[in-house]
C-alpha cells in the first residue's frame, strides 16, 4: 500500500503501479490492463496515425464554427468555382460560390454524426440479438439466427437503397438503412462469444446466487463481448462511411444544401473536367477518414483480439 500513499512521488512509481503483475483491487487491475493495452497500441505507428486523424476530425467537428473561415451556406455567385488557393478561399469555391474549406469543416460534423449513430444502433442491436440467441438456445436461437442469416445473405448497398427508397431520402433514414444492413455480423460474433461463455463456471456461480437470465446477459455476458465487437465496429466504420457517402452521392442521404461530403462530390461532378478540385477534395476527406478507421481497427485488433490478427 506504500505505492498508494505516494502516487505523486515520481513518474516511475506510477509506471510500476500500472505495470504490476499483482493488482490490489479490481479497479487497479482494470486500469493496469488498459494501460498495458495502450502501450502495445502506442508501439504501432500506423494505428497511432489513424487515431490522430480521428482526434483531429472530432476536434474540427466540435469547433467548426470557430475554425471555418466562411459560412458554409453563403452563396457568392460572382466568385463561383474559384480555384485552389485563391484569395480568401484556400480550397476554392463550388458552383454556387460557397467556400469549400468551410463546407468540408462543417461536413465533418455530418460524418461524425452518421458514424456515431450507426455505431450506437447496429452493434447494440446485434449484441442484443446475438446474446439472447446464444444464451437462450433452442427455437429462439434457431429463429433469430435464421433471420440473421437472411439479412447476411443480402446485398447490403442495394438493400440500403431499397430501404431509403421506402423511407424517403435524408440523413436519419440513411442511418437507419445502413444500420438495418449492418447489424447481422455483430449478432454472429456476439452469439459465438456467448456460446463459449454460457457454460463456464462463473455463470453457474451467478446462477446459483439467484441471478435471472436478463441480469446474466446484461451484467455478465455483455462485458465480455464488448472487446471483439469494438474491433469489428472500428473495422466496419470505413465501410459505413463509404456507404453513407455513396448514398449522399446518389442524392439519397443528406439533402442539399447540407455540406455532406458525398453530396459535395456529386455537386462537383458536373465540373470535373474543368474544375477538378470541387469534386476531388471532399473525396480526399472521405478517403482520409475511412483510412484512419481501417488503421485504427488494425491496431485495436492486435491489442484486443490477438488471435485474429492478420500478420
Amino acid at each position: 500500500m506504500s505505492i498508494f500513499s505516494t502516487p505523486h512521488e515520481n513518474h516511475s512509481s506510477w509506471r510500476r503501479w500500472l505495470l504490476t503483475d499483482t493488482p490490489t483491487s479490481r479497479n487497479h487491475a482494470r486500469v493496469a490492463s488498459f494501460y498495458q493495452g495502450w502501450l502495445s497500441f502506442k508501439s504501432n505507428p500506423m494505428a497511432m496515425f489513424g487515431l490522430l486523424i480521428l482526434v483531429f476530425l472530432a476536434f474540427v467537428a466540435i469547433f467548426a464554427p470557430i475554425l471555418a473561415p466562411h459560412d458554409p451556406f453563403t452563396q457568392d455567385l460572382s466568385n463561383r468555382l474559384a480555384p485552389l488557393a485563391s484569395e480568401g478561399h484556400f480550397l476554392g469555391t463550388d458552383s454556387l460560390g460557397r467556400d469549400i474549406l468551410s463546407r468540408l469543416i462543417y461536413g465533418a460534423r455530418i460524418t461524425l454524426y452518421i458514424v456515431l449513430l450507426v455505431a450506437l444502433i447496429a452493434p447494440v442491436a446485434g449484441l442484443f440479438v446475438g446474446t439472447v440467441a446464444g444464451y437462450t438456445g433452442g427455437w429462439v436461437d434457431a429463429i433469430l439466427m435464421r433471420i440473421t442469416d437472411i439479412f447476411l445473405a443480402f446485398p447490403r448497398l442495394v438493400l440500403a437503397l431499397a430501404f431509403v427508397a421506402a423511407l424517403g431520402a435524408g440523413i436519419e433514414n440513411a442511418v437507419i438503412a445502413i444500420s438495418l444492413t449492418a447489424w447481422p455480423p455483430y449478432a454472429r460474433i456476439a452469439r459465438a462469444e456467448t456460446l463459449t461463455i454460457r457454460n463456464s463456471d462463473y455463470i453457474s456461480a451467478v446462477k446459483l446466487q439467484g441471478a435471472g437470465p436478463l441480469r446474466i446477459i446484461m451484467r455478465h455476458i455483455w462485458p465480455l463481448c464488448i472487446s471483439s465487437l469494438i474491433v469489428r465496429v472500428t473495422l466496419d466504420m470505413a465501410g459505413i462511411i463509404l456507404a453513407a457517402a455513396g448514398l449522399g452521392f446518389l442524392g439519397l442521404g443528406a439533402q442539399p444544401p447540407s455540406p455532406e461530403w458525398g453530396a459535395m462530390i456529386s455537386e462537383g461532378r458536373k465540373f470535373i473536367l474543368d474544375h477538378w478540385w470541387v469534386a476531388t477534395i471532399p473525396g480526399l476527406a472521405i478517403f482520409m477518414v475511412s483510412l484512419a478507421f481501417n488503421l485504427l481497427g488494425d491496431g485495436l485488433r492486435d491489442v484486443l483480439d490477438p488471435k485474429d490478427s492478420g500478420s
Binding site: I150, A153, L159, A166, G168, G246, W276, I286, F293, L295
Partner: protein, 352 residues
C-alpha cells in the same frame, strides 16, 4: 442445439446419408433465405409512402376508378394473401410494370443485367489475375517490401470511395490523357452495330468478328472494370496471403524443402495446390460483391446496367422496378453465396 450444425459432424453413418442430409439442408437454407428476401422486399413495398393505386390511376381519378384499381391490385385482401400473390407473381417471372415506360420490369432487367455481368466479370478477372500472385508473393516474402506494398495497396482499396476514384480516373485517363473511351458502353457510332446475342458487347462483337467494335467497347469498359478489379484485388490478395501463410508454416512444406524440391514447386504445386478451394470460395464471394458494388460505378460511367436501372427508378419513385431489381440482385447474391459454400463442402475433404 442449433440448426446450423455442420453436416456430418458427430454422425457416423454411410457417406450417402450425410450427403443427402446436407443437400436437403442446403436446399432448405436457400428456400428460407429467398423467402426472407421476398418478405423484406414485400414489406419495403408496403411501407413506402407512395400510394401504388394513385400512381397507376392518377391523382384525379374518380372514386369508382380508384376502388376498381384497388381491388384489381388485390389490396383489399389480407396482407398475408397479398404476400402469396406477390410470391406467385415472382415465381412466374412477373415483377409488375415499370411506371416510367409501362414495360414489364422483368424485360427491362433482362436487358440491363448482361451489362452488369460483363463489367463484374471483367473486374473479377482483373482482381484474380493481379490479386492472387500479389497475395502469394506477399505471403512468401513476409515482412519484405513486397508484403508492405501489398498491404498498402489493399488498405487504400478498402478506404477509397469507389465513385470518387471513378471520377478521378475519368478526369485523368479520359479528360487529360485521352487514353480510354468516355462514359457509356461503346462510342455513339457503334451503338447497335453488332447483333445482340448474349447482351454483352465484348462477346457479341467477337461472335460477329467485328474487331472495330470490340476495340471500342474494350476502351470503354477497361476503366470501370479496372476500378472494380482494384476492389476485388484488395480483398482477394489479403485472403490469398493469409491462406498461404497458414500453408507455408505447416510441416509438409518443410518436408518438401528438405526433399530438395525447387522453391517454385514448393510454393505453387504444394502450398498453392492446398488453398485452391478456399480461394475459389473467396473469388465467388468477391464476384457477388462486385455485382452489387457496381451500382455506384455504373452511375459514374453511365453504364446501362442493373445498378443504374435501380437508381434511376429510385429517383423517380418507380417502386416496381426498384424492388424487381433488388430481388434479382439478391437472388444472384444468395446463389453465389450458396455456390461457394457447396464448393467448399464438396471439394475440400477437410470440411467433411
Amino acid at each position: 442445439m442449433t440448426i446450423q450444425a455442420e453436416p456430418g459432424k458427430g454422425r457416423r453413418k454411410s457417406p450417402f446419408s450425410t450427403f443427402t442430409i446436407s443437400t436437403f439442408k442446403t436446399i432448405g437454407t436457400i428456400l428460407v433465405t429467398m423467402l426472407g428476401l421476398l418478405f423484406v422486399t414485400f414489406i419495403i413495398g408496403r411501407v413506402m409512402p407512395i400510394d401504388p393505386v394513385i400512381s397507376i390511376v392518377g391523382e384525379r381519378a374518380s372514386k369508382e376508378t380508384y376502388d376498381a384499381a384497388y381491388r384489381a391490385m388485390g389490396l383489399d385482401k389480407p396482407v398475408i394473401i397479398q404476400f402469396f400473390y406477390y410470391i406467385r407473381d415472382i415465381l412466374q417471372g412477373d415483377f409488375g410494370q415499370s411506371l416510367l415506360n409501362a414495360r414489364p420490369v422483368a424485360e427491362d432487367i433482362k436487358r440491363v443485367f448482361p451489362a452488369t455481368l460483363e463489367l463484374a466479370t471483367l473486374g473479377t478477372l482483373i482482381g484474380v489475375i493481379i490479386g492472387v500472385p500479389l497475395g502469394v508473393l506477399a505471403a512468401v516474402n513476409r515482412g519484405s517490401w513486397i508484403d508492405q506494398i501489398a498491404r498498402f495497396v489493399a488498405l487504400v482499396g478498402y478506404s477509397m470511395p469507389i465513385f470518387w476514384l471513378g471520377l478521378v480516373g475519368l478526369l485523368i485517363f479520359y479528360g487529360i490523357l485521352g487514353w480510354v473511351g468516355g462514359p457509356g458502353r461503346v462510342g455513339i457510332f457503334y451503338v447497335d452495330v453488332v447483333p445482340s446475342v448474349s447482351g454483352m458487347i465484348l462477346v457479341d462483337s467477337l461472335l460477329d468478328g467485328n474487331w472495330t467494335v470490340f476495340k471500342d467497347a474494350m476502351s470503354h469498359i477497361i476503366l470501370p472494370a479496372s476500378l472494380l478489379g482494384y476492389y476485388s484485388l484488395a480483398y482477394i490478395s489479403r485472403m490469398t496471403r493469409s491462406f498461404m501463410l497458414e500453408q507455408m508454416n505447416s510441416e509438409y512444406i518443410t518436408t518438401a524443402r528438405v526433399k530438395g524440391l525447387s522453391e517454385w514447386t514448393v510454393i505453387w504445386r504444394h502450398a498453392f495446390g492446398n488453398i485452391k478451394v478456399q480461394l475459389i470460395t473467396v473469388i465467388a464471394l468477391s464476384y457477388a460483391g462486385l455485382l452489387e458494388g457496381s451500382v455506384l460505378t455504373e452511375i459514374i460511367f453511365a453504364w446501362p446496367g442493373i445498378g443504374s436501372y435501380i437508381t434511376t427508378a429510385l429517383l423517380s419513385a418507380d417502386m416496381n422496378a426498384v424492388l424487381g431489381g433488388t430481388v434479382v440482385v439478391g437472388l444472384v447474391f444468395v446463389c453465389l453465396n450458396v455456390f461457394s459454400d457447396l464448393l467448399y463442402k464438396f471439394f475440400d475433404p477437410r470440411a467433411k
